[in-house]
Symmetry: C2
Amino acid sequence: MARPRIGDVAERAGVSKTAVSFAFNQPEHLNTMTRERILAAAEELGYRPSPIARRLASRRTRQIGLVVPQSTHDIFANPFLPELIRGIGDVCDAQGIAVVVVPPVHGSIATAIKEALVDGLILLGLESGHPELAQLQRSGLPVVALDVEHWDGASVIAIDDVAGAREAAIHLAELGHRDVGVVLIAQHPDTPLDEHQGVSARRLAGIRSGFAAAGAGEAALRVVSAPVSEEGGRAAFEALNEGLLPTAVMTMSDVTAIGVMNAALDAGLTLPADLSVVGFDDVPAAAWVTPRLTTVHQPIREKGRLAALRLIDAIQSGEGRAHSREVLPTRLAVRGSTARARTNYHLPVAEIA
Amino acid sequence: MARPRIGDVAERAGVSKTAVSFAFNQPEHLNTMTRERILAAAEELGYRPSPIARRLASRRTRQIGLVVPQSTHDIFANPFLPELIRGIGDVCDAQGIAVVVVPPVHGSIATAIKEALVDGLILLGLESGHPELAQLQRSGLPVVALDVEHWDGASVIAIDDVAGAREAAIHLAELGHRDVGVVLIAQHPDTPLDEHQGVSARRLAGIRSGFAAAGAGEAALRVVSAPVSEEGGRAAFEALNEGLLPTAVMTMSDVTAIGVMNAALDAGLTLPADLSVVGFDDVPAAAWVTPRLTTVHQPIREKGRLAALRLIDAIQSGEGRAHSREVLPTRLAVRGSTARARTNYHLPVAEIA
DNA sequence: TTCGCTCGCTAAACCGGTTCACTAAATCGG
DNA sequence: CCGATTTAGTGAACCGGTTTAGCGAGCGAA
């Protein structure tokens, strides 16, 4: 009644376990008749080689993990992730490698990584100083890190966050915006706004540099932070809307920007006349909303593809942990959500609407 | 230099392999001092129990698979999938179970399933007659099937496709639409339109029934099919736009509907005045586009959650393959993309615009 | 005829853990 | 003080395959 094992098939076919293994994996090593007999026996028994046992023996899981710092629920609220996975899938599907998302287990990324059934990891949204990740460095597991400055012993795929954000800021500055809301990515709840790291910090620097370069160094930036989701964007709008509304809002992701836009529309504003909004990423939905979202385009799928390629390469080359860093280009996609700054920006939002 | 194994730790700590295993899994069975000594030895060696070996011995992979009939690239083009995964993740994250997407390998779903490292499967977009899935039935692997009428030995989570589509059709009929495009889900390229199965067939039946019930039995349905993606929706619009444009289009998914809308807007039409569009699913993006998409809402995340619960239940109860069928409610979310049928529907689209 | 190869297959070791059955020593109740 | 438990730990079997080393038969070449 129990699941048949390789020994059962061997016995039934009157051969050794080895022969059965050959029948499935290296049929050319077997006489045709013998092979047929073995396969017939397997068929009769409903035998199917155990994937786990096979993976143990081959020391390859044929799986790679995508490590993310949040729950599956939260992380998939951002269309960026599906796009990234599409890119990873382009490479992995072709090689029969499965992709598994690795969210924290009971809040611990280290635990999640320890238990992950993978040959290598792609790290998303993690900074290299992360205390939980020290053990990972020593484990020898091949790793590709996304969007970090540097990762010990790992390949890095990144974009030029500073330049991308800078370009967007210049765009706004040239449209006359001098009072701009900036929505960073929410970190741990009690991280002070000025201690944001990684992506948020680099882009904020780019924004400052952009306004300065455009001769608008005096521009006031109102920095808030929010979870990366449509709801987060809405919350950010509410936060910025206490008192005077800025004339423009820059975000770290399109989904946040869309939340800002939706909240603004719900508040009765006209976009982009009353408020310009700039996103980041250029996910497909950015081109579906009205007005079409002006955003910093990054080649998300290409990023995923490249990450998968580099990781698989590192896995196959056996630990030859490369430490390359590849920077993909960004460009500002100017669409309909940005316009000249409104001149009545000193009015409370109620009067604007 | 090689990865340390449990025996290495045992030797170093002067205990048996069993003791080392206990130190990690059942620390209470060990004297505190001994345990400390073992853990220290493990730490020095950089030992980490092999997840694969552990899974082999425990006969649990702690992974479940989501089987889909298309490539990762194609399947993630539909925001439905991320939402479904969010629901599955709600359940699985809490239990430390990983979710793996299982797309076909070299076009074969059967192969993909054979090699999948999972304790059970959730089936999406597959019909129970599928020839490739006969072996799955016999394998004894726990399965939950989504959106099918029936699946031998598996729990089924579904919605009432007929009723949902019917409600949408009645809505359009009451708005005066009598010439309606219907965009089905593209099957194998040479499947005749009238032989669509499963979801498409049921919804088409619901649409017919709806128009009849609303006293608009004479309404002309123009049925086309397209891949489930924004591009697919655009292609469907082009197909329907050869000759006279219908006054409304019904789709099987929001992303398709959005593609139809975008193509219509690009063609210079005014929505919903010139063309009403109805989606299906109610993914988040449906409420982000302009006009807001009228669509048949289904509880996607709840569907995922339920599927995960039933599957995990089946796995834990050891093969007690339930054959329950749960039908989740749908409701028509009437928003801005539907309006009274235009009266000049006999004009070519060029003149409409 | 004999040497050397290839072919077809096998036994045993191995992948790296968990777990069962059991033992020796320590603890406990009466 | 004795028998019964409990505690702490062990050796061997087991999970279910793959792989290495090698063996006997058959065959071609010398």
